[in-house]
């Protein structure tokens, strides 16, 4: 697949860079032009990512698959150390790439009136960030992956540090150092894998390719260490429970669009990292650590929900709800069952949609009132009906109302976890997190939207304009789409997740961890959904 | 004879220390001279007669003279005073005279031994042979080092190195 002679993955990844360069050439004073260029770039960037999914089942694409990856680009990059420029996407990456291009566009669109100073630099960084994030989801060479992973820190750091709130410096540096510390450990593990591979196959076969590493089957002791290093790198990014402290700071201080990207895409890089790298590379360590990881997830779910409930700041509330939701996501992934991982991945998308939208929602009132304190609002539904509707949809999506996307994800995760005898207790505990989630979100909605419209400033607030509505439309469509017809999306996940679970199936049989087949049959409805997804995949 | 080595070795160190202690430029220069001469004696005692003589001629002779000329001529900050008391004068003269005496003694005393040992390594012919064959490059390259040193000393030493205004006026 090519667009104008450029391999499609390259086109999708580097298209924002073209916008970036154009913006650099436009003089500072022409702010409107800069905004238009950025928005057009974002929109076209989204459009050119659509052929990825449209052509997914085309014979030439299917035939071009390598290691389960489509649209593969594979050229030597740094020959001396064996790093290759290796791009490719499977179903998991596909969904995340689409989410990224969409959220990127929405974030750019939502900044139209929110960013008033240093417009040029702002949009330049946004587009740069876009390229960095897309690269992370496409790279299948660990060196390349690491490069994108780190590089995307820099524009995000600037976005928080320059356009952020009052404590932006603290938040920006904390974000940067936290993430860097984790990722450097990950780099160490990558180098360790690299040398391990060399020690087995010799220097001539030096490589950073994920698929080469997957074939090796590292010894458990080594897996143990490498997994821990990767774990810290990814867990900080997710963020999982003990490593989450940078998140509220970064979220609260970041500009709205920054929060949207941060919650919608950046955090997904951590979860994606687990699914793409940790799970296939370190099965033994994974199984060994499952109880610990599950515990952390459950603590994250409940702790995040409880803290969110106590927040007075709307943005902070949404930030802590992210901790809770991502705990849920990771729970599904670490369950290591087909349903669980699929649910985890779909929940990543859900979280991107609903939390991204919630940050936008907070940003809209913040832009009008310049405060995010819940007690400053109340009764907004009277003069902002459109806003209230959208807020409600997104709240319900976030708490997992059937018919909306959140339900599908949470249900699959809990079911996938419950399917394993040894993990049932975690599933039960996590389910309580769902209830807490409903509590704090509905409470928030009630306090902000219902009651009497008392404050004078609030009475003056205008409802959404066309641009703002337009930012939400795609998100709402997706929320409903995933909620009602999930199999359209789940079918892309089936094959790649199966590839991972196959590894574990074998390992678990070895370790005599029984899968509870009885329960699987019990959930016939769910089973049917899953089976439907199996339709035509490979 | 052995004892002489120790005497001169200690002397060279003492002079070197004195060089650091002295506050006046001229005393420093003279201590350096003493140090150089002591080292020359050591060379000669080691049958490196030629190097010893070079040390004497080049360092104790010409380099010292240059030093003194520079000190007297440049006097960059006008702070060096030539308060050369007679006491110091006699002290230095006697010390240096003593060294010369010992030096002569060593040269005469060791002459025959130089004959006895295969001294081809140290003969002038062998030395110049090497200097102009194997060590030609270092020998020539050292001139760059000296040139750099000269540039530096002029740059730091010249009193009225103004910002080029003079040139403008002259031209």
């Amino acid at each position: 697949m090519e667009i104008l002679g450029v391999p499609i993955l390259n086109a999708v990844t580097y298209f924002p860079l073209i916008g970036f360069l154009v913006i650099l050439l436009i003089p500072k004073s022409k702010e409107t032009l800069i905004k238009i260029v950025a928005n057009v770039t974002g929109f076209i960037g989204f459009l050119i990512s659509l052929p990825l999914i449209i052509n997914w089942y085309k014979p030439e694409v299917v035939n071009g698959m390598k290691n389960g990856m489509r649209y593969v680009i594979d050229v030597p990059w740094i020959r001396t150390i064996g790093a290759r420029y290796q791009f490719g996407i499977d179903g998991i990456s596909l969904l995340l790439v689409l989410l990224t291009t969409l959220l990127g566009f929405i974030a750019i669109l939502s900044s139209w009136s929110a960013i008033k100073d240093r417009v040029k630099e702002y949009y330049a960084y946004m587009l740069l960030l876009q390229t960095g994030m897309l690269g992370v989801f496409m790279a299948t060479d660990l060196f390349l992956f690491y490069v994108f992973w780190e590089v995307m820190l820099v524009p995000m750091y600037f976005l928080i540090g320059v356009w952020g709130g009052p404590r932006k410096l603290y938040a920006a540096i904390k974000f940067f150092l936290y993430t860097l510390a984790g990722s450097v450990l990950m780099l160490l593990a990558i180098i360790a894998l690299y040398f391990k591979y060399i020690s087995i196959y010799g220097w001539e076969h030096r490589t950073f390719s994920l698929f080469k590493f997957m074939q090796v089957g590292f010894d458990p002791q080594f897996q143990w260490w490498a997994f821990l290093a990767f774990f810290i790198g990814f867990a900080i990014k997710v963020p999982m429970f003990p490593f989450h402290t940078w998140l509220p700071d970064a979220h609260v201080e970041a500009p709205t669009a920054g929060s949207v990207i941060l919650a919608g895409v950046l955090l997904k890089m951590g979860t994606y990292g687990f699914v793409r790298f940790s799970l296939p590379l370190f099965p033994d360590a994974m199984i060994k650590f499952t109880p610990l990881l599950m515990t952390l997830c459950v603590i994250g779910i409940i702790y995040g929900a409880l803290v969110a409930m106590m927040q007075a700041d709307m943005k902070k509330l949404v930030a802590y709800s992210s901790v809770s939701h991502l705990g849920m996501t990771m729970l599904g992934v670490f369950a290591l069952t087909q349903v669980g991982i699929q649910g985890g991945v779909i929940q990543m998308i859900n979280h991107g949609i609903s939390t991204g939208a919630l940050f936008l929602i907070v940003g809209i009132v913040y832009e009008r009132r310049h405060t995010r304190l819940i007690k400053e609002y109340g009764g907004l539904s009277h003069n902002m009906p459109l806003y209230a509707t959208i807020f409600l949809i997104m709240t319900l999506s976030s708490i997992g109302l059937p018919g909306l996307n959140g339900f599908i994800g949470e249900f699959m995760i809990l079911q996938g976890t419950f399917a394993r005898h040894d993990l049932r207790v975690y599933a039960i505990l996590a389910a309580s997190g769902v209830i807490l989630g409903a509590a704090y979100m509905l409470w928030l909605y009630q306090r902000v939207m219902f009651g009497k419209l008392e404050k004078e400033e609030n009475k003056k607030m205008k409802d959404l304009n066309l641009r703002e509505v337009f930012t939400f439309v795609p998100l709402i469509i997706l929320a409903v789409w995933i909620g009602i017809y999930p199999s359209f999306w789940l079918k892309y996940l089936k094959a790649p997740v199966k590839k991972i679970t196959d590894i574990y199936q074998k390992k678990m049989v070895e370790k005599k961890v029984e899968l509870n087949s009885k329960l699987k049959v019990d959930y016939k409805g769910m089973k049917r959904i899953i089976n439907n997804n199996n339709m035509s995949e490979e | 004879m052995e004892i002489l080595i120790y005497i001169f070795a200690i002397l060279s160190v003492l002079f070197a220390i004195n060089m650091l202690i002295q506050k006046k430029m001229i005393n420093v220069a003279l201590s350096l001279l003493g140090c150089m001469v002591s080292i020359a004696v050591l060379f000669i005692y080691l049958y490196a007669t030629f190097v010893g003589m070079l040390q004497l001629i080049v360092y104790a002779g010409s380099v010292m003279v240059l030093f003194l000329i520079i000190i007297t001529l440049l006097d960059p900050f006008g702070k060096i005073k030539y308060t050369f008391t007679s006491r110091l004068w006699t002290f230095f003269v006697s010390i240096i005279g003593l060294i010369f005496g010992l030096l002569l003694y060593v040269i005469y005393g060791s002459e025959k031994k130089v004959e006895a040992i295969n001294s081809s390594h140290f003969s002038i012919k062998a030395l110049s042979d090497r200097l102009f064959t194997i060590y030609l490059l270092p020998f020539e390259v050292i001139s760059i080092l000296i040139l750099v040193g000269i540039i530096g000393s002029i740059y730091f030493g010249k009193k009225n190195l103004t910002d080029g205004d003079e040139d403008e006026n002259n031209a």
Binding site: I78, G161, F176, I191 | Y135, V148
Partner: protein, 488 residues
């Protein structure tokens, strides 16, 4: 090529540099003040010509020893010489307007720079300890003078004097060490010494040899600014004219490493375990002292001074690894370091303004978006120094740390990583001040004037930092090809 012409070819770039330096000294006195720039132009021209002559006569296949066993004519020499000439070229470009602004003397500056380049070349190509020493002395002597080039500035004087005294002592120690080796082996040529040492394994444990080696290490440690011989660095960098600080942070370091690599691997391959121990401790100390010292600095020149100590420590990992990857990593890192550090010093020399007034981090408040053409390149340099991917610094560190890891120096690599994490903090601090803090008095950012030449050279540095970060393969291969001649 006949042997005779080969001799001259192998030494041609140095001859060119020397000739042009003399030419400058002859021409300069006859120039009016306004025409003084001409000497800088001559020096740039000389460097370009030397670079071309270096390119024309490459020795990629064989390692020849010319000039009666004084000079190696091999690809290692070629590559390192290219590195030094690049340093000289960029420094001259940065100095172009700097000298005019600070009312200095272009004639002396250019000729001293050319002489320093000759000294650096000699250190890299020498096959004989006496040659190495003379090269080192020429380089040092030139740098002493350059450090004190602002005669009327007390700090500059202090800097020169400190550098001179400590440098003199270290040279003496180095020479003493060399004399021990000579007494031990009766020869000064690298190969000769290696031959003697390889024949008698009984020598290895000898305290005299160990002492001699240690003294040589001390001498070079001083030039490279390895802890515990680093104390002069921050003071000297702070006091010296900024362009000269830039040169000192890159030039002597590169030359020192170039010579050290030859000495370690061509003279002492048999005694490597002895060296390694020393190097490991020194590397740990250097990295920690450099990075911890930099954290508390307010003066950007001092900050970069400390950071340059730290970088010397990272490079030492390559010697400790002692394999092709580590060695080529050092050479690659020297190139990367050249662009990022010289670039950073170049931007600083622009920001500080006439009389070097604005050199504290506080002065950098709020200039980020006012002069993006300079602050963004500076950010790139700092991020590269911190080792963020897509920059040359990352690839360099990756190769060096990787090499050390491959030779099972896990603890050392962990310390190195910790050290570079610390470094991220203070590099980011500069970026934070530039972009995210407003000036103490609103609207009172420093005024920055810059010339086209300076901007051009900054952009060239930034380009290469990114280029080497994206496509390091070519240079890594060249470095690999070069270090093969060290006979590892």
């Amino acid at each position: 090529m006949s042997t005779k012409s080969l001799i001259y070819v192998s030494f041609l770039p140095e001859i060119i540099l020397g000739a042009f330096a003399l030419l400058i000294m002859c021409v300069d006195p006859f120039l009016k003040k306004r025409e003084k720039v001409f000497s800088t132009i001559i020096s740039i021209f000389a460097i370009v010509v030397a670079f071309i002559s270096n390119l024309l006569f490459l020795s990629r296949d064989a390692s020849l020893i010319t000039f009666n066993g004084m000079i190696y004519f091999d690809f290692y020499s070629n590559l390192l010489r290219g590195l030094f000439l690049l340093i000289g070229f960029l420094v001259s470009l940065f100095a172009f307007k700097y000298i005019e602004r600070e009312d200095l003397f272009p004639g002396e500056f250019s000729s001293l720079l050319l002489f320093a380049l000759i000294g650096m070349d000699l250190m890299a190509i020498s096959a004989n300890l006496i040659m190495t020493f003379i090269g080192l002395e020429i380089l040092s002597m030139s740098t002493y003078i350059l450090a004190g080039f602002k005669r009327k500035n007390l700090k500059s004087n202090e800097s020169a004097l400190k550098y001179f005294i400590l440098g003199g002592v270290s040279s003496a120690i180095l020479l003493y060490g060399i004399s021990f080796l000579y007494g031990f082996t009766g020869t000064l040529s690298y190969r000769g010494i290696a031959n003697v040492l390889s024949k008698g394994s009984g020598f290895i444990g000898s305290p005299l040899l160990f002492l001699g080696m240690g003294m040589i290490l001390v001498g070079f440690g001083f030039k490279i600014a390895l802890a515990p011989f680093h104390v002069w660095t921050p003071d000297v960098y702070e006091g010296a004219p900024t362009v000269v600080s830039g040169f000192m942070s890159v030039g002597p370091k590169a030359a020192g490493y170039a010579a050290l690599l030859r000495i370690v691997f061509q003279i002492f391959p048999f005694t490597l375990p002895l060296w390694r121990e020393l190097f490991v401790y020194s590397a740990i100390l250097t990295m920690l002292i450099g990075n911890l010292g930099a954290i508390i600095q307010k003066n950007v020149k001092r900050l970069l001074g400390y950071s340059s100590i730290a970088h010397a420590g990272y490079m030492l990992l390559g010697i400790i690894a002692a394999d092709v990857m580590g060695m080529s990593g050092i050479i690659f890192y020297l190139f990367a370091y050249l662009f990022m550090n010289l670039g950073a010093f170049g931007v600083i020399s622009i920001f500080e303004g006439k009389g070097e007034k604005f050199v504290t981090i506080d002065d950098y408040r709020g200039i980020g978006f006012k002069y993006p053409q300079l602050t963004f390149p500076l950010s790139i340099f700092l991020l590269s120094l911190a080792g963020i991917p897509l920059t040359a610094g990352f690839v360099g560190k990756f190769v060096l740390f990787g090499a050390a890891l491959m030779e099972n120096h896990m603890g050392l690599v962990l310390i190195a990583i910790l050290a570079s994490l610390i470094s991220v903090y203070y590099y980011l601090k500069v970026i934070v001040y530039m972009f995210m803090k407003s000036p103490i008095i609103e609207g009172e950012e420093i005024e920055v004037r810059y010339s086209g030449v300076a901007l051009f050279s900054v952009l060239v540095c930034a380009f290469f930092v990114l280029y080497l970060g994206l496509f390091p393969s070519y240079l890594l291969n060249l470095s690999k090809e070069a270090v093969v001649f060290l006979g590892i």
